[in-house]
Symmetry: C2
Subunit: 332 residues, 2 copies
């Protein structure tokens, strides 16, 4: 029930994930409504899709108290299915803060993880994927949290994007070791000791150039970087549209180039990446953009399935347990 146009993208995304990726999907929300919507799709009955009732819905404007009070919200019910082992993972396009808070509460953290982190994947100039974490689960972080994010990001990249040895960078302001703020300078020392391919500090302009695969930041900085990117993308779209429409010649030109613009849109389409996993919780939880369409939901269901099948959480717990005795990952 989370997306801006819920439940249509969720239902259609579930149908496509079932049809094309063999996923079995539990749709969580008001039963009567979901069943009547589902009945519109003739093929649905032959697909492994079930409805699980949840009487409440968390809105984008709900505050913390409201979120806690809605014990039968679709987010809470969905995450309970994961905890109880009735679902391999949970996907939501709803209120990100509510989803994160509820996942931490209902699922709890994996052993060895002090703070779960939200990891966003996006495309680069080289058409590779890069992963930025944390993009908003933790606003004030300790160096050890960033070290754990690095390990989780590395494992996620290997499991989901099939990278052998992802290059892990620390988001800072200057490439030299001494550059950055107190947090990043201390985190740098921890990241150096980890058995990952740590390439040092990277800057905001490196996020999209394909030179780094996993970018580690505290949740405040990561969130600002992600949302600033959205802002720039909107600015570019608005200005491009305006300038291309201003004369007939340009309109004809734009018409001839229209496939280029649709390719362009596709290349930069975040819906291909399946949303952001909350890494470090005991279970699989993917949060997608509120503007998610059918494709975004389909891909999120696919990637969540891969995440569960790839036993990413087991690997995270094992790696962090192995590292914990080392100075690098002890909570101070």
């Amino acid at each position: 029930m989370g997306s801006d146009k819920a439940p249509k993208p969720e239902i259609e995304g579930a149908l496509q994930a079932a049809r094309h990726h063999g996923a079995r999907v539990l749709l969580v929300g008001p039963e009567a409504r979901l069943k009547s919507e589902l009945a519109r799709y003739p093929g649905a009955r032959r697909l492994p899709i079930e409805v699980v009732h949840a009487s409440e819905v968390i809105t984008m404007d709900d505050k913390v108290e409201a979120i806690r009070a809605k014990r039968d919200s679709s987010i809470r019910v969905g995450l309970r299915l994961v905890r109880e082992g009735r679902a391999a993972g949970f996907v939501t396009a709803g209120n990100t803060g509510a989803a994160m808070a509820t996942a931490k509460m209902v699922l709890g953290a994996l052993p060895g993880v002090d703070r779960p982190a939200l990891a966003a994947a996006f495309p680069t100039v080289l058409n590779t994927a890069a992963v930025l974490l944390d993009v908003g689960a933790n606003v004030d972080c300790e160096p050890v949290n960033l070290a754990q994010f690095a390990v989780m990001g590395d494992i996620y990249c290997r499991a989901i994007f099939g990278m052998q040895r992802p290059r892990v960078g620390l988001l800072s302001i200057g490439e030299e070791e001494g550059k950055g703020n107190d947090l990043t300078r201390e985190a740098f020392q921890l990241l150096k000791q980890l058995p990952i391919n740590f390439i040092g500090n990277v800057e905001g302009r490196d996020l999209y150039n394909g030179d780094v695969d996993v970018i580690v930041a505290d949740g405040f900085v990561g969130n600002v970087a992600l949302k600033t990117s959205e802002g720039v993308a909107r600015l570019v779209r608005a200005v491009l549209k305006e300038t291309l429409r201003s004369t007939i010649t340009r309109q004809v030109g734009a018409l001839l180039s229209r496939n280029a613009f649709s390719d362009f849109k596709k290349r930069l389409d975040h819906t291909e990446y399946g949303g952001a996993p909350l890494l470090g919780v005991k279970g699989v939880c993917f949060i997608t953009h509120g503007s998610s369409n059918t494709n975004a939901i389909k891909n999120a269901v696919r990637v969540a399935s891969e995440f569960a099948a790839g036993r990413v959480n087991e690997t995270i717990a094992r790696e962090l347990a192995r590292l914990r005795p080392a100075a690098a990952l002890q909570t101070s």
Copy 2:
């Protein structure tokens, strides 16, 4: 001597600023070289342009020690001209870190300013200008620093962009008052008390939407936001170019739309905004991008002149002195 193609953009920018804006320009750098370059422009002799000798040049790779050691660098000599009152302001496209450090050392801070801040101006969807500060002068800030940035940004916007009552926002992750990290939550309380048009928290996606005129952040976060924007802009350019070139039809379309693309480039052109002032130092210091062209230098000289003529620094010192007795701006 600072830009990537120095001294050509500097010399041509100075010529244009002299010709079109009546600026008198002192070109600082190796005298023989600058004079021989200047001799190539026949009109130069009739313009009020002089050369001031500086035997050393700070490179982009120079470390702090090298910067300190080069006592006769063009940056140091230029800033000394400002301190001695022989120049109304200084413009450089050189090493940003070196320029900031040298300006703080040579000029010192204005009374009432604990930390000078670098302020970057950029275009919005609505074709207005917005100013983000600090974009890199201070990595670890106290709430009081952010309050001073807000006052300086407000004054800068009024003086240079002619805004009556700029809307000042605090860069955070969520709009509600309680959202953000420890620093922004405390800063929020100080900003509320200031005699400025404080509109509360803004997010990364608001930077470019025209809803806010002055955006306040610590230098780490501001720098990440600025450089991330550069990264996205490069990604968009690269992908657009690639997709528009991939078939003949698209190439023809792109050719017909080429004026649109040049308009587009112009709308988003940072060179129109005249670079970033280091606000809060006793003197006028503008730092432009290393890739600055003639237009960027011309505009930086123009804006630096306006900054000096508008007595922005006097206003900053007066406003901060007036506010200092208030709890809001006392250094804790």
